[in-house]
Amino acid sequence: MLYNNLKLFLFVCLFIVFNLQAQNCNNYIKGRVFDKGTSLPLSFVNILIQESLKGTTSDKDGFFILNNLCQGEIHLIISHIGCDPKKILIDLKKDTLLRIPMSHTLLGAIVVEGEQSSNIYFQSISSLSRTTIENNSNKTLGELIQNESGVNLMKNGSGISKPIVHGLYGNRVKIINNDIIQSGQDWGNGHAPEIDPLSADKITIIKGVSAIEYGAGNLGSVVLLEQQKIEKEPHLHGQTNYTYESNGRGNNVNLRLEKYSKYFAWRINGTLKKYGDKKSSTYFLNNTGHQEANFSLSLQKSWKEKLFMDIYTSTFNTRLGILRGSQVGNITALNIALNAEIPDKTDSLFRYDIDAPKQEINHHLAKLKLKYFFNENNSIIFLLSGQLNHRKEFDVRRAGRSDIPSLDLLQHTYNSEFKYTHSFKNLWKFKIGNQNIITNNTNDPNTGILPLIPDYNNWKNGLFSTLSGKINKANFKIGFRYDTELQKVAEISNDLPRRIIRYENNFHNISGLSSVKFNLTSKQSLAINSGYSERNPGINELYSFGLHQGVSGLEEGTLSLKKEKALKNTLEYIWYPSSNFSINTLIYHQSFNGFINLIPKQKENIDGVLVNEIRTTLRGAFPVFKYQQTNANIYGFDISSQFSIRNSFFGLIKYSFLSGQDVKNKIPLIYMPSNSIFGSLKYQINKSNILNKGKFENTEIEINNRFIFEQKNILIGQDFVSPPPSYNLFGLKFSTNLILPNYKIRFFTEFNNLFNVKYRDYLNRQRYFANDLGLSVIIGLNFKF
């Protein structure tokens, strides 16, 4: 017997199977397909028996019938545009009735499934399906989610990108990989999250107000990577993916296998990537190749549907080249680079070699998760994990030292977590939990350079509780969280004589949230969220000291920083008058007290006037940037609309607006994302074409367009150079599926920056030196069995 809560555990569907009568090769399967979120019937859904390639399409009421079936095991493939295709194993003994809910990613903002659904239902989310992840197997996590509304990227060249959600990034946005808070050197703008997105089945961006359950330090938004439960399928299933990308001549291979047995269910996932120098619209970007080798293993076991165990280990290893011409030296040299037509050290040779400047990162993770159901209303989750992050950054140095890292940081993180959920009879739900994180961060002294951030030990403990329920037409959720953080730091002085200075900081942070969601009618809903959260200054904000290569600035932490306090309110309105049209509007406002940002340090000149400090060193003059606090407001809106015409054309338009202001100094905030429009139009051939023994299905062609406005909300002098002008990129995609008796082959091709437009992006740190990527053609094959 299944408990209510267990439903959440099943990734996509539940079948209600009625047994009728048995007859050999004269059985039928009748069924109805409907949208899981809206319960509306889905027409034009393809239902195909993989073994015999016999298939049908659902009618306007979502009904279908497959006749004259033989007894035995068959796999049904159910596919529909905008949905993740689903494969169902049926051991056909009798005539069978099926009810098939499909989760529509096209209307993704409305539908949420999976274990996390109860947590995030109130907050604005957008999610990416497995198909999207597979079709973009050449992309990093950041690049994969950058087309979601409200999401932008902070880049350091083409291979390094980190997500920005509603203007916040770094240690203000948490990334949860497989239940575990990703722990690395996430403070660095040029540091990408160390995650292989191909190990995930679903990526969700919660553009919320206060993610109470995900640990201290985040001020609202969370990027969530989830793995689906291994299905109870006794056959070995798997897939392999190969993608070639013309720009960078990149090769990507991915293999994934999974099998269920009564002892345990297992899944492995491995990825290899190799890229050489990428190319802008006209010239090569020398030394911008990257390599990646990742592996993960997942073991799952359950005892009597009461106790579930999930063991997961993963390793992520990468080497990332950084544009050679971006390491210039002091401000004089930067000014020369800013005015150069093409970056220094550019030549016409393509190379796979990666030299300094470069980054080498290894990230390993191990996790144990236990979930126990006392009964259908009570469950407990226990999590234990360890992470090891080793980051080495290399600069071009004198006397053969380019092979010695300039920064060599080793970080261990241990995490324990416990969560208890109680469901009441009236569907109210109570949750309580605690999280403990221990971090140990050390520098290798063999760099020969004073460390940018000091050695430290860090203890975080958090306690949270949420209550959700329904009163009349209103769903509500309230939550509260309390965190303590202890930082013990051992810093090497930056003045002479060099000595060790120790610091100890203790912080107490609280956060809270309240959410209400009204289902105004069956076709529209309104959600109002308010959240307050506190974030204590991070180690880098307090103690960092050193030269930031690439931006030619000296960065200084500030010892006197206090907590950052943020209040965020969001209003989301969703209207979906039919399954052919929906519109989603999210308006948000976040005000900060004590917003910590890195801005030019000021000092009095001889006339007593405050001017930006320029520090003279032997290497020349450098501007000094210091972490300082101010009061700030970030507000904006994301609006998206989806429509379909005659079930063949599918359109999508998204617009994001954001504005960030330093209200104390009455100046704009620097490095805020530009406004953007994204649009796509997809045409799907509903008919399937039989070719010999195979069958082509879900053939799609898509044209898309991304327009990024110029960031005008910035004053002259706030940055070395004014933001680059607006740009407009076109893309083209084509994909088709060939279904054969024992396997499925998906072929896809994609053109990025179709017209080879020359552009620079405001949030790419390499924009001071080089143009962004030119045309790239991607060809991919996905083989599933």
Partner: protein
């Protein structure tokens, strides 16, 4: 009931974790900053009068730290010719001063000094393994009398074959700036 128990359990868990032993970080090893250049000495000796020696020095012992560097300029005789010699030192540890000049000399094809001033002129008096100038040894002409500023720049990995670079014109050199210092000079009649 179970709810109460778990509430208590979670609070106990929270307290026990927050009260476990918290060690200070292990004392970090102070890195040996062997690559750091703290001092540049530019010694100028009058070509016809070896007693006329002027040394320009730039000393910044704490590297990127907040203490301002000590810059010592000098006074030169108008229209006189001087033999110049550059010396680079790491004086972070006074007991163990390291000579960085040797490192530059070993990689002379990857390094070049550039000199600029209003009326002072500097020409190269040394060659690297590819017969391109380095600038550790130079010949300086003081030019006409007056106050001047001499800027010395060391570029790592310049393109020495680019136009004008081997004549001392930095514009097309590219590369990375390792040193950029300026000295006040008083050229006297």
């Amino acid at each position: 009931m179970i709810l109460k128990k778990l509430l208590i359990l979670s609070i106990i868990g929270f307290i026990s974790f927050s009260s476990c032993k918290k060690d200070d970080p292990v004392t970090p090893v102070i890195p040996n900053e062997e690559e750091l250049i703290t001092t540049l000495n530019y010694t100028l000796t009058n070509a016809f009068d070896s007693t006329d020696v002027v040394t320009l020095t730039f000393v910044d012992l704490d590297g990127d730290g907040g203490d301002a560097p000590t810059i010592t300029g000098g006074s030169l005789n108008a229209n006189k010719t001087y033999n110049g010699r550059i010396e680079l030192l790491d004086e972070t540890n006074p007991a163990d001063v390291e000579d960085i000049t040797e490192e530059v000399l070993e990689e002379d094809e990857d390094h070049q000094f550039f000199f600029s001033a209003a009326s002072i002129t500097v020409i190269y008096d040394d060659l690297d393994t590819n017969n391109n100038p380095v600038g550790l040894q130079t010949i300086l002409n003081a030019g006409s009398a007056g106050l001047d500023t001499l800027k010395i720049t060391l570029i790592h990995e310049p393109n020495k074959d680019a136009m004008g670079v081997s004549d001392g014109n930095m514009a097309n050199a590219g590369g990375e700036t390792d040193i950029e210092v300026s000295f006040p000079i008083n050229v006297v009649q």
